[in-house]
């Protein structure tokens, strides 16, 4: 009994010291990780400067035709910076990227729509463009504003639309035979409830993490998702590099 108590106390002390040791090593690993990310950020900055100055030859000509529709996901807390968003759109316009979808989770960009259109020349909302967006002659930019409500909730709205339509067709009764829902039917229903935009070829994420943050799921099946860092560190060279890297990608589409 007398021997057990000090032994237990000793083992508890050893465990506590062990935990403290592991915790310190964990912090040390994360410090190393932060240092690594800082080195990467400096490298990206230098590369971006070289691209902007035209030092790197390969970035001078971009095969923009391959990028038919671009989506940009912006962290909602940064999306209030309308001037930065406008600057980004002006860069895209100058590069030749005319069809852009802007997404932020909370709909901050939707609220800034008027301010953004006010500062851009020749930009129209997608609702006013009737031909297939990816086919129009690039005289003006087409902008689409999307938020989380246009994702999962829009899919539910589309499902309810089909439900009500079927009720009417079946005269509010009867059995349903076979498969009712198909991908083309859902796509049509989504257009009816206001989700017009096509699938983007490239999605640029301006935020702390490479994540699509709830962008409409059915629209990003084969979309290249690239992390650009925070909107606070918006750089022209990084934008060019992301688009250039996209133009070099080859997809098998499962084959």
């Amino acid at each position: 009994m007398d021997l057990k108590y000090p032994a237990r106390k000793l083992s508890r002390s050893v465990l506590t010291m062990g935990n403290v040791g592991l915790q310190l090593l964990w912090y040390f690993l994360h410090i190393l990780l932060s240092i690594w990310h800082s080195i990467l950020a400096i490298r990206c900055f230098i590369e971006s400067c070289f691209i902007t100055c035209g030092v790197l030859e390969k970035y001078k000509s971009l095969n923009i035709a391959k990028l038919r529709y671009l989506a940009i996901v912006i962290e909602s807390e940064d999306a209030h910076q309308t001037s930065k968003v406008v600057k980004l759109l002006q860069w895209l316009d100058s590069i030749g990227v005319k069809n852009v979808c802007l997404y932020d989770m909370n709909g901050v960009l939707k609220k800034s729509k008027e301010a953004i259109f006010g500062k851009l020349k020749n930009a129209k909302p997608i609702e006013e463009v009737n031909e297939a967006v990816t086919l129009h002659v690039p005289e003006h930019m087409t902008l689409e504003f999307v938020s989380y409500a246009d994702g999962k909730e829009a899919m539910v709205k589309a499902a309810n639309f089909i439900f009500v339509e079927n009720l009417k067709r079946q005269n509010f009764g009867g059995e349903i035979d076979g498969q009712v829902i198909s991908e083309p039917l859902l796509n049509e229903a989504l257009k009816v409830v206001g989700c017009k935009g096509p699938e983007p070829d490239l999605l640029l994420v301006y935020g702390p993490v490479r994540s699509h943050l709830g962008f409409p799921a059915w629209r990003i099946r084969y979309t290249e998702i690239v992390h650009m860092g925070s909107l606070n560190f918006l750089r022209y060279g990084s934008l060019i590099k992301a688009i250039y890297d996209f133009t070099k990608v080859h997809q098998n589409y499962g084959t």
Partner: protein, 332 residues
């Protein structure tokens, strides 16, 4: 004598690696550990080409990598692991390749069900996720058997996505939700209780016709600037349908929770990390619905080349952004 020495050395080395790995996991466990990691196992064919091996050997090497990664994940304390084994799009490959992949899957499932496999070592419950009706019967039967045999396991879960795409999953979930609510609405006689006053029917039918006209015009590509009015009428009608409950005169509506519970992946929480090997930065129709707040990590290594260092790196980056991601999850 030499063989014995070699055997002892490799055992010692194996033991040392295992010990080192447990130390690393001990350190990682001081921070938040992901509950669910998903993998897109890309690069088996490229690996085979790179190492001048037959394509089938590339897939077998891929399976060995899978077992290693499962062991690392389960040792770390990750409960759910999802892997993208075969997409519906992969049926477009040459029939011979598809057949050999199916055969390999069937063979490996049998291997996994043996006593000394990782499945029994960690008490892993197997789920085969996807449109299994698209698979040939022998493969489907072996999958159903594997799910039945491991159904009682509770400690860890392995979800293998086969004949899966997110598009198909979403369509299936909407279809199931639709059928549930249709049966509840029609067979329970809820429709008979509706107020069939002309005004009510008038609002719906008119809005419906407008929506159909709008949809037709949209499909034809003809210009119609009055589209906005129809859309808002449609949205209004859909909102009526959504707000409807089972009260007299109101329609029940499909809710987001109905769709989500009918997803194939409803058996697991959303993934905390998604790792795609081979450096590709797209999701290729995998877990699109479930990855809203999931960091995507794309190491350049091909799947058969993936190792512990890639997992450790992914987990460290997950821990770095954990508080931000938790904040985002609460906003949904």
């Amino acid at each position: 004598m030499h063989k014995d020495t070699g055997g002892i050395t490799s055992n010692l080395l194996g033991g040392l690696c295992s010990c080192l790995r447990r130390c690393i996991f001990g350190i990682l466990s001081m921070g938040p550990v992901p509950n669910h990691i998903a993998f897109i196992m890309d690069g088996n064919r490229r690996f085979a080409k790179k190492t001048n091996l037959a394509e089938g050997i590339g897939h077998k090497a891929g399976f060995s990598s899978l077992i290693s990664m499962l062991r690392y994940c389960y040792e770390l304390g990750v409960k759910y692991v999802t892997v993208y084994a075969f997409s519906i799009d992969n049926f477009k490959r040459k029939p011979k390749e598809v057949q050999s992949l199916m055969e390999l899957m069937r063979e490996k499932i049998e291997e996994l069900l043996q006593d000394e496999s990782i499945i029994n070592e960690y008490g892993v419950k197997l789920h085969f996720i996807g449109n299994l009706q698209l698979l040939a019967e022998p493969v489907r039967i072996s999958m159903e058997k594997a799910m039945k045999v491991t159904a009682h396991n509770k400690q860890r879960v392995l979800l293998v996505c086969v004949a899966y795409t997110s598009s198909d999953e979403i369509v299936h979930a909407v279809e199931e939700s639709f059928k549930e609510i249709w049966n509840a609405t029609v067979s329970n006689g809820t429709i008979g209780q509706l107020d069939r006053s002309p005004k009510r029917n008038g609002i719906r039918v008119n809005a419906q016709d407008s929506c159909e006209d709008y949809a037709r015009q949209d499909a034809d590509g003809s210009t119609d600037r009055s589209g906005k009015t129809e859309t808002s009428s449609c949205n209004g009608m859909v909102e009526i349908a959504e707000e409807g409950k089972h009260d007299q005169g109101e329609l029940p509506a499909i809710k987001l929770t109905d769709v989500e519970k009918n997803m194939y992946m409803a058996v697991a929480p959303d993934p905390d990390i998604l790792i795609r090997t081979s450096g590709e930065v797209r999701l290729s129709n995998f877990l699109l619905w479930q990855t809203s707040t999931c960091p995507l990590y794309s190491p350049a290594a091909l799947w058969p080349e993936i190792g512990l260092r890639h997992l450790v790196w992914a987990v460290l980056n997950f821990q770095r952004h954990h508080s931000y991601l938790e904040k985002k999850k609460k906003q949904f």
